[in-house]
Symmetry: none
Amino acid sequence: MTEHDGKPRQRRKEARPEEIRRAALEELAEKGIAGSTLGGIARRAGISRTTVYLYFETKQDIFEAVARDTVERTIDDAASMMAGFEGPFEQIFTNVIDRIYGQLVDGDASVILRALVSEGREQSEIVEFYHREIFAKGEATMRKMIAMGVARGELVSSAAEIDPRILMSPAIFAGIWSLVFGNIEAIDLERFKRDHVSLVLHGILKSG
Amino acid sequence: MTEHDGKPRQRRKEARPEEIRRAALEELAEKGIAGSTLGGIARRAGISRTTVYLYFETKQDIFEAVARDTVERTIDDAASMMAGFEGPFEQIFTNVIDRIYGQLVDGDASVILRALVSEGREQSEIVEFYHREIFAKGEATMRKMIAMGVARGELVSSAAEIDPRILMSPAIFAGIWSLVFGNIEAIDLERFKRDHVSLVLHGILKSG
Amino acid sequence: MTEHDGKPRQRRKEARPEEIRRAALEELAEKGIAGSTLGGIARRAGISRTTVYLYFETKQDIFEAVARDTVERTIDDAASMMAGFEGPFEQIFTNVIDRIYGQLVDGDASVILRALVSEGREQSEIVEFYHREIFAKGEATMRKMIAMGVARGELVSSAAEIDPRILMSPAIFAGIWSLVFGNIEAIDLERFKRDHVSLVLHGILKSG
Amino acid sequence: MTEHDGKPRQRRKEARPEEIRRAALEELAEKGIAGSTLGGIARRAGISRTTVYLYFETKQDIFEAVARDTVERTIDDAASMMAGFEGPFEQIFTNVIDRIYGQLVDGDASVILRALVSEGREQSEIVEFYHREIFAKGEATMRKMIAMGVARGELVSSAAEIDPRILMSPAIFAGIWSLVFGNIEAIDLERFKRDHVSLVLHGILKSG
DNA sequence: TATGAATGAGTGTTCATTCAT
DNA sequence: TATGAATGAACACTCATTCAT
C-alpha cells in the first residue's frame, strides 16, 4: 500500500513545499510529533513518500520548516501589533493579548508549541530559534509596552520590574489546555481573556 | 547484550511495580515520551525486558501507572495544602502557589506534564483521569479559597467570578518554560513566584 | 512477505552465529557483496531478519565476522603447512601451492577475496586485517621457504631476492578466474598447478 | 538540488556518450561498482540524470559500454604489441609484460577488472564479452609468442604446453594488489616486473 | 535534445511484544 | 517469578527509472 492514490503525476513545483508544510502541520496536529510519519505527511499532501524528499532533505527538516513558517507568520503578526501603540494602556494591552490568543489557541502556533514541549531538548536548534525569535522578542515587546504605561503614569512604577512572561502566561496556559483538555472541558475563551486582562490590570485584592 | 546486568536476583515481587514505575519516570524525564523504550526502562529497573510484562500489560500501561502514581502524590500534597487555610489570604495564597511550583517546576509533575502535552489525545483515559483528579480538583480548591477571601472581605467580590486557572497559569508556564528553555534561559524562580503573587493580588494598574 | 517461512520459533542460541555466518557466506558467494541483503541472509539462515540483530549489530559486522572467520581457518591451515618443511624443495613447494589452491580456488577464501576486491577501500579495517594476517604472513612464510631452499643449495641464490608474491600469483589468478569466468571456461586445475610449479622451478628459457 | 550546475548547455550530442562513459569510469574508480549511482555519473558529466537515459537504456548499459570501451582501447594496444615481434624472445616478452602492467596496474583496465570481479556473474553478457575479447585473445597472442620462441629454439619445447595465463598472472595479481592494498603496502612496480620476467624466463631451480 | 518532477521497489534498522523454558 | 530467544510491523531514506514539458 502506498501513500498516494495513483493520480496522474502532477507537476506542482511551486506549490509543493507549501503543501507539504501544510500536510505536516495537519499530521502534527493530529498525531503529535512522535506519531507523525513521512508516509502520513505524504498521504495528506497527495504525493508519494519519495516526492517529499525532493523538497526536504529529512523529516526533521520538514518539521523545522513548519516551525519556522509558523514563527514567521507569528512574527509578522507581532509586528502589526506594534503599530497599535496608541490609546490608553488598557486598550493596547487588550489588543495584544487578543492577538496572542489568536495565535496560541486558535492558530497554528499551538501545534508548534506542543511539538516544542514534546521534543524540546536543549541542544535542538529549533528550540533556540523559537526562544530567540518568539519568546525573547515577545518579552521585549511586552517590556516596552509596560515601560510606556509606566511613563504615561497609567501603571504603578513597580510594574516595570515584573517578569513580563507572567502577564502572558494565561494565554500559554489556554493554548495548552485546549490541546490537552479541549475536548473534555473547553475554555470559554472570551471570558477567559476578559478575566486575564482584568486580573493583570487590577489584581484581586480589595484595597489595591 | 541484555538489559539487566546480572545483579543478584532479588525476590521482591512486592516492590517490582514501584521500581518499574520509578525507572519509567527516570526514562521519561531523560528521553521524553517519544524516546522512551521498554528496554531503557528495564535497564534502569535492573530487570529484563520481558519481566516488565509480568507487571504491566503494555508500555502504555506503564506510563499510565506512572502518571497515576504521580497524580496521587500530588493529590496528597494538595490535601495537605487545604490544612493551612488560616491566616490572611495573601499568606494562604502564597503558600498554595509555593506548593504548585514545587510540584510543577521541580517535581515529578513536570515530567508528567510534558508527557500529557506530548501525547495528550482527548480520547486517552489518562488525560481524562488527569483532568478529573488534578485540574478539576485544583480548580475547585482555588475557587473555595477565593470564595473564602471574598467572604472575609479581603478580596474584591468580582474575584469570585474569575476563572481560577488564570491565577495559577504562571506556574504552569514556568513548568513548561523550564522543560523547554530551561537550559537556554533559566527562570529566577523565587522572583518569578513573588511577581506572580504580587500581580495576582494587586494587578498593575495605578488606581487599583 | 517476510524472510523466514513461519516455522515454530526455534531456540538455537549456540548455533545461530555460525549459521548466520554460513548463510552470509552463501549469500556473498551468490550475490556478491553489493547484492547481498540482510533479508537474503536471514532467509538462508531460516530466521527472521530481526533475529540477525540479536547476534550482529550491523550488516557490516556480519561480513567482517565472516571474513575473520575464514581468515582464521586459513591461518590454521597455513600453520599446518609449516609442519611439512622436510624433503626436497620441489616437494615442499608443491605441497604449499596445493594448499593455497585449496583455499583460494575451492575454499571459502575465494568469496572473501572477491569481497575484498569489491569493497576494498583503504580505510576499511577488514582490508588491513586481511593484509596483516594473511598476505603479510603468507609472504613471510614463502620467504622463509625460499631462504631454506637457497641455504640447502637447491635454489639459485638470486631466488632470495624475488618478491615471493610472484611465486603465488598464479594461484590468486586461478581463484579470481574461477569466480569470474569459471562457468565459461573452467580451469583444469591439476594441470594449472603442475604448470605453475614447473614454471616457477624451471622457467621457460632453454639454457636455464 | 540537482546534479548539473547549470553550465551553458553545449550542443554536442556527438560527444555526449563518450562524456558519460568517461564520467562513469571516474565514478567507478572512486566509488566502486556498488557505490556508483546514476546521479553521480550525471553530476560528473555535467548533465541531468534523465539526460543519461537518452544515450543509455539502463545503468547496466552504461557500465557495459564503459567496459567495452576500455576493452577496445586495450585491444588496440594489444594489436600494437603484435607489431614488435622482432628481436630475441626475452625482449619481446619484456615488452609485452610491460604493456600489460601499463593497462592493468596504472590504466583504466584495473577499474574494469575490479568491476568484473565484483559483479562478475557468469550469465552476464559483459563477462562473456570480456572473456572472449580480452582474455581469450590475450591467451592466443601469448601462445603464439611462445610458439615462436620455441620454434626459434629459444624456449624449451615444453613451454608450448604451459597454460599461458600463468605467465601473466603476476600482472593480474599486481593490478588487484594495487586496488586493494595499494595504500597499505604499495608494490615496487619496476622491481616486481623485473622479477616477474626473470622468474618466467629462468625459474628458481639451480640446475635448470 | 534536455530536464525537472515524480514515483515504486527495496534496504537496514528499531522496538514492543510473544514464545518457550 | 524471571528471562533469553525470536519475530512482525513499522519507518526513514535511497535510487533507478518514467512522465510531462
